[in-house]
């Protein structure tokens, strides 16, 4: 079988047997895959310590005759995103991103867009570039790429078009906005001002892999956080493990 060469981001690693490593990675060409790195814990020559969580690597793998696991043949470190290692708050955010990627793209569902998003988001937080805004942008884009974009064009109840005048509410069960005539603003249906809606629209439809400048007010940023939190919790059915630790610093 032909070896596959691809860029990838290491999502998780786990010890396997005496000297091997089980590696979960998100590759640019094939999506989420699991592979075995034989002898990775014993000798550092072939993998040169490149198999750390969150690392961007160039890796070569080969399919095995049976099973879903691929065999990792070589791996070269492209970017270890060192900033993430030196700050627990960044580790929390990077973990959240990885968990969201795994949940939206379980295995063998390729998405180059998702790969690019994860890569640029990890790079942004590692360099501490607008960490909060990068995080929001990641959340909104990941949901959109995963097929859960928020409908911002019309009220899901009465169908009235939203043209940017006045506030709109987010309605988690329909993944859409509803108008103030159909619903009251509450924790269950958080509200958004016109600039919040347009910032979300810009992020969702952006051509760039990651827009880490939202260009909106602090108030809009907190509204976006509330909307995305309830949207993600509703769609992904469960709270992400890492979200539990994110919570106390999310509203700092």
């Amino acid at each position: 079988m032909e070896p596959k060469k691809t860029e990838a981001i290491i999502l998780r690693t786990r010890d396997l047997g005496e000297s091997d490593l089980l590696v979960t990675f998100f590759s640019s060409l094939y999506g989420n895959l699991k592979g075995v790195a034989k002898g990775a814990r014993r000798s550092s020559k072939r993998f040169a310590n490149s198999l750390s969580t969150f690392s961007l690597v160039d890796l070569q793998s080969r399919e095995r005759r049976s099973g879903d696991l691929v065999l990792l043949e070589s791996c070269e470190l492209l970017d270890g995103f060192p900033g993430i290692r030196s700050d627990y708050n960044l580790l929390l955010r990077a973990s959240y991103m990885v968990e969201m990627t795994e949940t939206l793209f379980p295995s063998n569902v390729p998405s180059f867009e998702m790969f690019q998003l994860l890569r640029f988001a990890l790079e942004a937080i590692s360099k501490r570039q607008n960490v909060d805004e990068s995080m929001i942008s990641f959340q909104a884009r990941a949901m959109k790429i995963g097929g859960f974009g928020i409908n911002l064009s019309r009220c899901s109840r009465c169908g009235r078009q939203y043209k940017g005048e006045g506030r709109a509410l987010f309605h988690p069960p329909s993944g859409s906005i509803v108008c103030l005539a159909c619903e009251k603003e509450s924790v269950m249906t958080p509200g958004m001002g016109p600039d919040t809606v347009s910032a979300l629209h810009r992020v969702q439809s952006s051509e760039r892999p990651l827009s880490n400048r939202l260009e909106c007010s602090d108030n809009a940023v907190s509204e976006l956080k509330a909307v995305l939190t309830s949207h993600i919790e509703h769609c992904l059915g469960k709270k992400l493990k890492s979200a539990k630790y994110l919570h106390p610093i999310r509203f700092q």
Partner: protein, 201 residues
């Protein structure tokens, strides 16, 4: 497993639950036990029970021990005000073997790992703080593994321990003895250059 008599089949099944032991190795181990003198089986069974009954965590440093507190925590010669913070019992064993450290240990029982659901409250951090005064600790050596999680934990602890009048150090990171620069990853190489030490000291 149908080809074996039930008792042998059960033993094979038990062995195959061990990490790194596949079905073939489990069969080999079980057959070995079967062919060995009875004392081997008795000794093995007793050791297995002893480990479960006698080994506990030291209430001071959280290392595995037969006696509480453990021998290191009761040894007055090791009360030198230096505390070495590590992830697990295996790390302590490695440092003890090197003979390079004569102080006491504090075992965190893991590292911060949000992806595995391990947060600050899951580690022995508050117990570490309560030891500082009691044992007149002057220096903390963070000897955590240089994984992403280990390093993030070290930086968390450094922030957390700051301003308590302690000297906080971290074990150095660099080229291993017998290593080859050609095969060293770029991050390690960069760190070892950043942290280079003068030759005349």
């Amino acid at each position: 497993m149908g080809v074996y008599p039930p008792s042998l089949g059960r033993l094979i099944e038990q062995f195959s639950k061990f990490p790194g032991v596949g079905k073939k190795s489990a069969e080999r181990l079980a057959l070995y036990v079967l062919r060995s003198p009875k004392e081997l089986a008795e000794g093995l069974a007793q050791s297995l029970l002893d480990v479960k009954e006698k080994i506990k965590l030291c209430s001071v440093c959280f290392n595995l021990t037969d006696t509480d507190p453990c021998p290191i925590c009761t040894d007055q010669r090791r009360a030198n005000g230096i505390l070495c913070v590590i992830e697990g019992p295996g790390d302590q064993l490695a440092i003890e073997k090197s003979g390079a450290f004569r102080g006491r240990y504090h075992i965190l029982q893991g590292v911060l790992s949000p992806l595995d659901g391990i947060g600050v409250e899951d580690l022995r951090i508050s117990e570490l703080i309560s030891r500082l005064k009691k044992e007149e600790i002057r220096e903390i050596i963070l000897a955590l593994n240089p994984t992403v999680e280990g390093e993030a934990t070290a930086s968390y602890l450094t922030d957390f321990l700051k301003g308590r009048g302690l000297s906080i150090t971290r074990i150095a990171l660099g080229i291993p003895l017998g290593g080859d620069l050609k095969y060293i990853d770029s991050m390690t190489l960069k760190r070892s250059l950043d942290n280079r030490s003068p030759c005349d000291s």
